[in-house]
């Protein structure tokens, strides 16, 4: 069995505020200063109004599963012990879409439309990842 650690996302300049908030177990998304639209993943330029200015704002972390897949192929040794595992696309209630995993949910219960909420998974001192769990 491989003991490789799961890949840590690069803390890019663009994502630095996102990871800083996640370390404190807060989920933040970008809010366009031009049109007010909330978005995730972050963009340099708002595709609605072309405004370049955005700030990071708190998200309630509640969302819905838009779609999901179940990965069987091992692309990275750290996931060898986890397959099959699900990847979900979550639409946040207050704006933005995130790729994540669902925790505390067996694969056969996972469904499109499932209501979920953000929780945080510590991966290193620097990185905590937002994940999602079913909510009532």
């Amino acid at each position: 069995m491989s003991t490789a650690a799961k890949p840590l996302p690069e803390v890019t300049e663009e994502l630095r505020p996102f990871f800083a908030a996640a370390r404190e177990n807060r989920l933040v998304v970008q809010r366009c200063e031009g049109c007010g639209r909330r978005r995730f993943p972050p963009r340099e330029i708002c595709s609605e109004c072309l405004c370049r200015d955005a700030r990071w704002v708190e998200s309630g972390g509640r969302g819905t599963v838009v779609s999901f897949n179940v990965m069987h192929q091992v692309y990275h040794p750290a996931f060898a012990a986890e397959v099959p595992y699900a990847v979900v696309l979550v639409e946040l209630e207050d704006g933005g879409r995130m790729i994540a995993n669902v925790v505390d949910c067996p694969l056969d219960r996972l469904a499109i439309g499932m209501a979920v909420e953000a929780v945080f998974e510590k991966r290193s001192d620097e990185v905590a990842l937002p994940q999602f769990r079913p909510r009532a």
């Binding site: 890949p7 897949n69 990965m71 990847v87």
Partner: protein, 392 residues
């Protein structure tokens, strides 16, 4: 007036290298594909005065790929040269650019070329050094998605396919019907990588999961190789070696937005221009060569050209409609799923073969109107060609 282009240009040469687990450089495959296309057309290198290149992954950045290919081929005095990439929609788009360049007077005879070499030769076993999966070898895994174990294009397409299943009731039986139909066509094509291997729906269901809802047999073959077509005017085409394949119409469509929401390719837009130019309707199509990176892509594309209502393609395909003997022959060479994966050159090359009537055991009897589609990204880019052995 776009209508006036109908039948005024033709594909006169087709060059396909060996495909699959064959080894050469991307440039080597490209040069060989052009050489074969020239031979096929009865043209010489000096007859070419235009060059379009779609560089595959092995070309790297290829910022001036068509110039590098020009130098490799020793071509002089070109009037048109371009390196294009809108993914799997590029092949058919290159033909469109060739027509437009000739129409504009920039060139007379244009080669459109794709090659790729993503597969590496097997290493000799005596090498001794075991390459185990150390995490350091996985430099690609740096983004946010990778942290969640979301890797590769398969996983992205799977999200869209799952959503289609949820909204329209599409099932793995439906996806499997596409794989089975294309394999039956491949069994009639001696050049197909899966020519010798039959496939049943039960085999499909037994093939391992890659990423649900995709089994292995929902996914295209990764192949090495090169492909080229040569485009010229109908006047020049009349005196060449092969029966001309006339270009009746073309179009593009690039929907933008998130395919998880739209569940739609660019075909609804691309087909409008292509069909108007060709003066046809969906019901006039005799043969359809549809981009098939996944079985799912074929279903969406069938819907988006109007062969069936939106959301109905699964049931449409499951009725045997697209298989040999069915009402609408689709991907008659076996497609990317069962023959070879050369991005948009797979459907384009088979479209040329069918329009010429050179399909041998897989030739479709009625082939006056041949539809070719290209698709890039995650249903992001789309191109359409309508081809015919008839000038009008």
């Amino acid at each position: 007036m776009t209508q006036s282009l109908k039948g005024r240009y033709a594909i006169v040469g087709l060059g396909l290298t060996e495909m699959g687990r064959v080894y050469d450089s991307a440039m080597g495959f490209a040069v060989e594909a052009v050489r074969r296309a020239l031979d096929d057309a009865g043209l010489a290198r000096q007859d070419l005065d235009g060059l379009c290149l779609n560089p595959g992954l092995a070309w790297g950045e290829a910022a001036m790929g068509s110039f590098a290919l020009q130098q490799a081929l020793g071509l002089r005095d070109l009037g048109y040269s371009t390196t294009m990439n809108i993914g799997g929609a590029t092949a058919a788009a290159m033909v469109q650019h060739a027509v437009m360049a000739i129409e504009a007077g920039l060139a007379t005879t244009v080669a459109c070329v794709f090659s790729d070499a993503p597969l590496k030769p097997p290493k000799p076993a005596a090498d001794g050094k075991q390459k185990q999966g150390s995490a350091a070898a996985y430099g690609f895994a740096r983004g946010l998605n990778a942290a969640y174990g979301q890797f590769g294009v398969n996983a992205l397409y799977a999200l869209v396919a799952r959503r289609h299943m949820h909204r329209y009731g599409t099932t793995n039986d439906h996806l499997g019907a596409v794989a089975v139909a294309e394999r039956a066509w491949a069994n009639r094509n001696p050049a197909a990588q899966f020519h010798e291997t039959s496939l049943t729906l039960a085999d499909y269901h037994r093939s391992r999961w890659i990423v649900e809802p995709f089994h292995l047999l929902d996914c295209c073959l990764v192949s090495n190789g090169g492909a080229a077509v040569i485009v010229t005017s109908a006047e020049r085409a009349a005196n060449l070696r092969q029966p001309p394949v006339y270009i009746w119409g073309f179009g593009q469509g690039h929907p933008g937005g998130d395919p998880v929401d739209t569940l739609t390719s660019g075909a609804p837009w691309a087909r409008q221009n292509a069909f108007r130019m060709a003066g046809i309707d969906t019901s006039d199509v005799d043969v359809a060569e549809l981009y098939d990176c996944y079985t799912f892509t074929v279903l969406v594309t069938l819907e988006d050209y109007g062969f069936c209502p939106k959301g109905e393609a699964g049931r449409f395909a499951a009725d045997g409609t697209i298989a040999p003997g069915g009402r609408l022959p689709v991907n008659t060479g076996g497609g990317q799923l069962s023959s070879f994966y050369m991005w948009g050159m797979t459907p384009l090359s088979e479209g040329v073969i069918q329009a010429r009537g050179q399909g041998g055991a897989r030739q479709v009897e009625d082939h006056d109107v041949v539809l070719v589609s290209g698709n890039g990204g995650i249903l992001s880019t789309h191109s359409t060609l309508v081809l015919s052995p008839l000038a009008s």
